[in-house]
Every structure is written in structure tokens, then in C-alpha cells.
Symmetry: C2
Subunit: 339 residues, 2 copies
DNA sequence: TTGAATATCGAAAACGGTTTCGTAAATAAA
DNA sequence: TTTATTTACGAAACCGTTTTCGATATTCAA
């Protein structure tokens, strides 16, 4: 049989298309009896309206885009969960795009969002992103968007982030208080807002304690695949035996540190203390249990979505710096930083 | 300024809409010079066609739906990654829907997929799903879809799964070989294909070794939130001190088993051996390292997507039982099952 | 009783592309 | 030169909704 459109529905009911359309959306200009009939028939035939026809006419898609570097990551998984939780209540659809940390991909994806495919976009910038022209386009086209977690600094847009600087500071202080003399900060990309802020907090704490001369002595960039990260960490520790504490700026670095420590029988926390920015559920049952700075991932996603939807609904897109929300992370001490 | 449509593009170029449209898709009926001009102008004005207009006319959406129970789960995150990896090469968009293990939600979501919003759907059934009427609808409407990981038994559709029965069998054998006398199987929902198969393999192995009388003595259903699971596991172990080995049918059960073991100072593997179906990256660095049966999550997602796209492209949807693909999992022994 | 207001519906114009088909000019064949 | 073919383009229909606006019938006020 042919596709079930509103036209066939109308014919079946002996009504006009317009009437059926209005009846389905409970318009006041349709009598309640006809409404009942239409609803009944729609139910019976299992009619479900074509969303694209509707979107085309109404110029809104009931869809949002989420653009993020990767999905196989605890933080982002949880954030997606938070986003979904509010999208569901709004009856919105969510498209997921992965930038794979590539600037090019991110740019292209953002560009596609200019087409009207989505009513808004949630974005966590890739580590390569160094230019904001594509964000500017979104703004020019008046498409609501908000950064979550990884923002682009110096670009005015709503941002839902965590207290990265402060946490970097706290992490360093913790290591020092536990007796570390040569703590190091493992970054992934210093042009990533979260990393630069965390490392800034870290170095600030060290400076405050009179520890630091050269930033590069203590802040190391680690990028690449898990394997290459493993190698880098191994090299680092081999060439710098004085390092007795590490702050891992992101989760996957922490895992490799542990891997390296078992491979080279470095005992944590005796020889090396570790604190990691991480939402790993398994942190308490690692060997040893891992001290973490845990971001409120779900809440970040959730509030980012909420902000986005108020923008979509209020058509008030010109929100600026004052719409930055900071959801604090929590430092949870465990055995990897025992004195 | 007003929206940039193909109409304004045409006007700007002094060409007809039809010509511009054809030029943009490199039609042979357009001269190469006009094509060049059109492309240049499109590039300059940053024209990006309205996907809904296109979808409406062409009756295809370049979009697939992925319906799964949850996303904050290692397996599903990796599977999504696999799905994305092929969707990207096909220039397809992917919509993510979460059923939250609810049959109702799954049904509604599937129903929405009947609207033409998507060209195909990838689905991992919820643990509550006991009826296949909604799948039947998809089939009737000729919408390609394939199950991944969690299939619906007795429903003919392409399925990309792993060797659950065999792995359940192997897990039991492993525990027995390590000296366990009273192994238990922690299930989450016995009407879930993966769990019933895994437990069937498990009990088969026990039966083969002359161990079992009553299935329910050894197979326990654990559902709920992490907290309630914790309580259930704790109760189980308290009331059944004879249990000296556990097969965790899903990842989140394993985590709670570890939590319970630290809370009650039960030593793994001495007092309790554990093997878990899991893709946890942290398995090697847990305390103790966790023996896992690791599913090829990425590959399952990837091949599921590949199968889906061949269905979409070939318009050959009537694939039946013979299109079941089994990607084997691998048992990785670690310290949680040391003899 | 008459004019105005209201209730209920339908015709038709959008929305922004794609595609069919027709046409005019240019080229090739006769 | 005439006819047939090819090339390059445009007019218009179409996809399935929503929405404006007009039309008719009914109810109400005067």
C-alpha cells in the first residue's frame, strides 16, 4: 500500500486536508466531534506525520545537535545522558556528531548546522580548534548554541563549565601536602581551555609554594592514542625520576599512568602519587583506588541543554559572558595520594 | 538578511532554480562553466541546502536512528563509536534515542521511526521488551533495521551479536577449573537475550560437571540502580556464604561486586572469584585486575551499521535468520580468578 | 426580521528543494 | 540546405505538512 499521508487520512474521513491538520493539533476552529473522529482514525491507521514536511513548513526541526570530540569517554557519555534527559522532556531529537578532536571535522559539522537541520547546538570544542570563525557563523545566523565543558575562550557565548583553575590549584596543593617535591602536570593540549586552566591553577599553586621556575619543567603535553600516551608517560618517568606526583588532566591519561606503573613496577602512591580529573566509576576499586577530581558530567550536560532550550524558546540568543555557569567539581581523596 | 535559499542563489547568478540545483549536484546537463560559476557563488555565500526540503522531495533522510537502553555504558559507547565510524563515511546523520530499559519508550521511539524521519534503525532491545509488535511494524513499512548485541529472539531480522552461550559456558568452566564449588551467575533480566544465553551456557557447563540441581540456586536476577544492586549482591553473599565464584552478566554488576567485596572485606580471588562480561578499560588496573569476557563492542556497532547500510542501499530488507552475524568475544584471564 | 458575530470547514499558497519535461540553440548527419 | 541529434537551460509539478484567508451556516443581538 502507498504511504499513509494526511491526504489519505483526509480522503478516508471525507474531510479536507486543512481540517485534518488542524484537528490533529487540537485547533479551536474544529468541532470536538470532528476532532474525535480524526483522532480515532489517525490512531487506527497508525498515522504519524512526516517530520520533514512539518519542519520545512514550520521552519523548525525539533532537533538539536551535539558536537563533541568523542563518545567513548565517561565524561561525555554522562554529559550526553544529561542532555538526553532534558531533550526527552521537550520532545526533541538529538543528533550526535564526533569531531574526533579534528578542527576540520568540527568546522564542517558546525557548517552543516547552518542549514536549518537543527534548532540549536551543544558543543564541546576539539583540542585542535584555534579559530572561532565557524562559531561566529552560528551566531550570525542566529542559531542558539552553548559550549559545555570545553569552551572557546574569548568567544562570547553561553558556557557551562566547571571550576578548572581552582581544581588544578587544589590538585597541586594536595600533592604538595602529601610530601611531593616534584609534581608534574600531564596535559593533553594546552590550547584546550580546560587544560590550560587546570595547568594554570596547578602552576599557580606551585609558584605560591616557591616551587617553580620554568613552567615547562612541570607541565607536559601528552597527545595521541592510548599506546603513544603510554610511551610518552613511560619516557617521562624514566627520564625524570625526580617526579613523585602527577596530576592527570584527563581521564585517559590516568589510565596510562597506571598501566605504566604496573609495567615498570612503580608503586603508587609510595613512589608516585596520582590525582586525576576523571569521572571513572571504577576509581574506588582501582589498584590503588584513585584520587579524583570528579566533574558533574551529567549536570553539565543537563544544564547546557536547559540553557539551550531557553534560548530556543525565548529566541533570546544574544546571551553573553554573563551566562557562563560554573558547576563545581569535587576532589575525592583516595589511596593513590596517600602520604 | 533573509535566509539564503537556492532561490536567492539563482537570482544572484541570473539562472533558474533548476539549473542551480542541477549544477550543485554535478548533473551532466549543465555546462562546466555554469557549474563552476554556481559552485563559486555557493561557496562564497556559504550556501548550505535545506536538508528537510531535500528529504521531503527525495523521500530519504540520510539519517539513521540508534535506539539503545543507555549510553553511559562502556559497551554502548564503543558501539556508538563503531556506528558513527561508518555513518561518517556514508555522510549519514545519526539520531540517538535512549529507552532507559523501558518497553513503552522503546515502542514509542520505534513508532516515531515510521514517519520517514530515518532511513534505517539500529536497535538494542530494552530489558523489559517482551513483545515484537513494534518491530513488526518496522518490517511492514519496509524500514531497514538490525539488532545489535541485544536481539529479540524468534524475530527474523539481521542481528549482530556475540557468542553469549559459549562465553557463559567458558566462564563457568573457568571458575570450576579454578576450584570453585558454588559458582553463581548474576543476571540482570532473564528475558534479555544476552542474559538468558549467557546463563544457559553457564548452567550447561555446571550440569555437564554434575553440579546443578536447581537452576535458581545458581542464577540470580539483579536489576535496579547501582545502589539497589549493591544491596542485592550484599544480601546474596551474606545469605549464601557457600558462593565462591561469580559470573557477572553485565559490567555494572561487576562493579557492585567489587564494591561489596571491599565493604565487607571479602578478598578476591581468595574467597570469591569473579569473571565479568565487560569492556571496561580499567579491568587490568582494578584491585585485583578483573577477568573479563570482552565483547567486540566497536566491531559490533560497526558491522551492524554496515549491514544496515547495505540494506538501505540495496533496498533488500527481507533478510532473515541467515543474516545473523556472530562476532566472538574473548576471555581474558586476570587476577580475579586466580586459583 | 435583519445585520453582526461566531463556529466550522476548505481552497490554496507557502516552505525549499528535486525532477520531469519541454524548448531553443548549436552541432552533426543527410 | 535541410533534418536529426545533442547540449544547456527553464517552467512547473511535486514531496507532505502548516497556515492564511475566504466561504458558508449558525447563533446572537437589536
Amino acid at each position: 500500500m502507498s504511504k499513509l499521508t494526511i491526504k489519505t487520512l483526509a480522503k478516508e474521513l471525507g474531510l479536507s486536508i486543512a481540517t485534518v491538520s488542524k484537528a490533529l493539533k487540537d485547533s479551536h476552529e474544529i468541532s470536538s466531534e470532528t476532532k474525535k473522529k480524526v483522532l480515532a482514525m489517525a490512531e487506527q491507521l497508525n498515522y504519524v506525520p512526516n517530520p520533514y514536511a512539518s519542519s520545512l513548513r514550520k521552519q523548525k526541526s525539533k532537533t538539536i545537535a551535539v558536537i563533541l570530540p568523542e563518545v567513548a569517554d565517561n565524561f561525555f557519555s554522562l554529559a550526553i545522558n544529561g542532555i538526553q534527559s532534558v531533550a526527552e522532556t521537550k520532545n526533541y531529537h538529538v543528533l550526535i556528531y564526533l569531531s574526533h578532536e579534528s578542527f576540520e571535522i568540527e568546522k564542517n559539522t558546525v557548517n552543516h548546522c547552518l542549514s536549518g537541520r537543527v534548532d540549536g547546538v551543544l558543543l564541546s570544542v576539539s583540542s585542535e580548534t584555534s579559530d572561532a570563525a565557524h562559531f561566529e557563523k552560528l551566531k550570525n545566523e542566529n542559531i542558539p548554541f552553548v559550549f559545555f565543558d570545553r569552551e572557546f575562550e574569548n568567544f562570547a557565548a553561553p558556557k557551562i563549565i566547571t571550576n578548572d583553575y581552582e581544581c588544578g590549584f587544589l590538585a597541586a596543593k594536595l600533592l604538595l601536602s602529601k610530601g611531593c617535591k616534584h609534581p608534574a602536570f600531564l596535559s593533553t593540549s594546552e590550547n584546550l581551555s580546560i587544560c590550560s586552566k587546570r595547568s594554570a591553577g596547578f602552576t599557580a599553586a606551585l609558584t605560591e609554594e616557591g616551587f617553580i621556575k620554568d613552567k615547562h619543567e612541570f607541565v607536559i603535553d601528552c597527545t595521541g592514542t592510548p599506546d603513544t600516551i603510554f610511551d610518552q608517560v613511560q619516557e617521562l618517568l624514566k627520564n625524570n625520576p625526580q617526579i613523585d606526583g602527577i596530576v592527570a588532566s584527563v581521564e585517559r591519561l590516568a589510565m596510562q599512568i597506571y598501566m605504566v606503573s604496573v609495567a615498570n613496577s612503580i608503586t603508587i602512591p609510595k613512589e608516585l602519587k596520582v590525582v586525576a580529573f576523571s569521572t571513572l566509576e571504577t576509581a574506588p576499586i582501582l589498584n590503588p583506588s584513585l584520587t579524583t577530581i570528579t566533574q558533574p558530567a551529567f549536570e553539565i550536560g543537563k544544564t547546557a541543554a536547559e540553557v539551550l532550550f531557553t534560548m530556543i524558546e525565548k529566541k533570546k540568543h544574544n546571551i553573553t559572558a554573563d551566562s557562563v555557569m560554573i558547576l563545581p567539581s569535587t576532589l575525592i581523596e583516595r589511596n593513590s595520594t596517600l602520604a
